[in-house]
């Protein structure tokens, strides 16, 4: 119970910071809508409808990266991470709290992006919503860990996309598959498997990333 209380406190801290500044969430929303508009100009007129689902997934992935590069910005600029690591809580609770906050940002951005996609391109199906929800969990799990790594490096914002994109390829495969396939079940199952594997791995290894 104590662990969950720690996680809740940490996630609330991030959400409250965001409520006061609103910079990350607003830039994610603007970015994803702008990307969709750019994509509408990059598709030739006679392209098949399925292609726009692929572009949606690229837009969602880039939006997640944009949000994740800011995930540890406050920790780094104000040296909060040192304090968090010294705090009497399990280090993996820091990861879980941050990942939950990232999921919240992603869901909020997608709450704008998916209706915009339905308006500009193709209808949003239930399979697509389920796939987006599962992809959010995986992206937040892996992305939070890699963002903590990138925050400790000199390259910072530059490093995160390089670390994350190869790991995100399975998410894109699962997401696009679930959106366009006649049998979305196996792709949703694959996304769930990805989430499970990488959430456990990130949860177990976060401590090594933030401590000496």
């Amino acid at each position: 119970m104590n662990y969950l209380a720690d996680v809740g406190t940490l996630a609330r801290k991030d959400l409250r910071l965001e409520l006061r500044s609103r910079d990350t969430f607003l830039s994610m929303v603007l970015f994803v809508v702008a990307t969709l508009v750019v994509f509408s100009f990059s598709l030739p007129a006679e392209t098949v409808a399925e292609a726009s689902y692929g572009l949606l997934w690229v837009a969602l992935l880039f939006t997640a990266i944009l949000g994740l590069t800011r995930a540890f910005a406050a920790e780094r600029e104000q040296r909060v991470l040192d304090g968090l690591v010294l705090a009497p809580c399990d280090r993996s609770a820091i990861w879980l709290g941050k990942a939950l906050a990232v999921v919240a940002f992603l869901v909020l951005a997608e709450a704008v992006a998916l209706p915009a996609f339905a308006l500009f391109f193709e209808p949003v199906t239930w399979e697509l919503v389920a796939a987006v929800a599962l992809a959010d969990l995986g992206l937040a799990a892996v992305g939070t860990l890699l963002a903590a790594m990138a925050a400790a490096s000199r390259a910072r914002e530059l490093l995160l996309p390089l670390l994350l994109l190869p790991l995100a390829i399975p998410i894109v495969v699962g997401g696009v598959g679930a959106s366009i396939s006649d049998e979305p079940g196996q792709f949703l199952g694959f996304l769930a498997l990805y989430d499970l594997i990488f959430a456990i791995l990130s949860w177990a290894s976060f401590e090594y990333v933030v401590t000496e």
């Binding site: 490093l159 670390l163 190869p166 399975p170 495969v173 696009v176 598959g177 366009i180 990805y194 990488f198």
Partner: protein, 230 residues
């Protein structure tokens, strides 16, 4: 820590690699019969597949050393894991090159998204290239060692997950147009040639690994001494 220039393991492995690879190539070119469908050009199989398996072995070895680092916090595993990733990337590039040549000779294209192994190696190549970026942009020390170790561990988990993803993508995103007549039913002579070539590339990787590890250790020792002098 051994910083002697005489490196007996590396020399022994290098000799073994030379003999085995020479023998394996001789077997592949002069002894094995032509493959029924692909004919003579199928013989690149005896280089391409052992090199690919060696790359996997290097990534696995890197992850094993990374796991040892995280469980014991013994810093000497850091260089070992790094060197293994380094070798894995070299053999990964070789896999991409030989696979590309094979694709060109049998299908007339340098690249095919329908070819699982090649696509997987492209993903792994990108992933492990980012490993180098990570190492170069973090200050040396215990934290860099554990971050690199965590990333190397992610790599071996990514291999089966990506493989599954590429198989799933085949139905919808990258349809398989071509098929190859390698695989399940290797004749005795083919199996023996393949085993000799695999042993040769593994020995070559081992020799390069031992040599590079000594070099990196000397480098590390040198910079320690430099810091002590300043």
């Amino acid at each position: 820590m051994s910083t002697s220039l005489r490196n007996n393991t590396a020399v022994a492995l290098a000799v073994a690699a030379f003999v085995l690879l020479l023998g394996g190539l001789a077997l592949a070119f002069y002894w094995v019969p032509d493959a029924p469908l692909e004919g003579f050009r199928q013989r690149i199989f005896y280089i391409h597949v052992p090199v690919a398996l060696t790359a996997y072995a290097c990534f696995g070895w890197a992850a094993w050393k990374a796991l040892r680092l995280l469980s014991t916090r013994d810093q000497r595993y850091d260089l070992e894991s790094y060197t293994a990733v380094h070798m894995g990337v070299i053999f990964g590039i070789l896999t991409l090159v030989t696979g590309s040549i094979w694709a060109r000779t049998s299908w007339g294209v340098w690249w095919s998204w329908g070819e699982r192994q090649l696509v997987l190696f492209l993903v792994l190549f990108l992933f492990y290239s980012a490993y180098f970026m990570l190492r170069y942009s973090v200050e040396p020390g215990p934290r860099r060692a554990s971050m690199s170790a965590v990333y190397a561990l992610f790599g071996v988990v990514l291999i089966p997950v990506s493989f599954l993803a590429i198989r799933l993508a085949e139905g919808l995103i990258h349809p398989v147009v071509f098929d190859r007549d390698i695989g399940s039913n290797l004749a005795g002579s083919q199996l023996l040639t393949f085993a000799v070539c695999l042993a040769g590339t593994l020995a070559l990787a081992g020799a390069l690994y031992a040599n590079e590890l000594t070099g990196k250790r000397i480098d590390a020792r040198l910079s320690e001494l430099r810091e002590a002098l300043e």
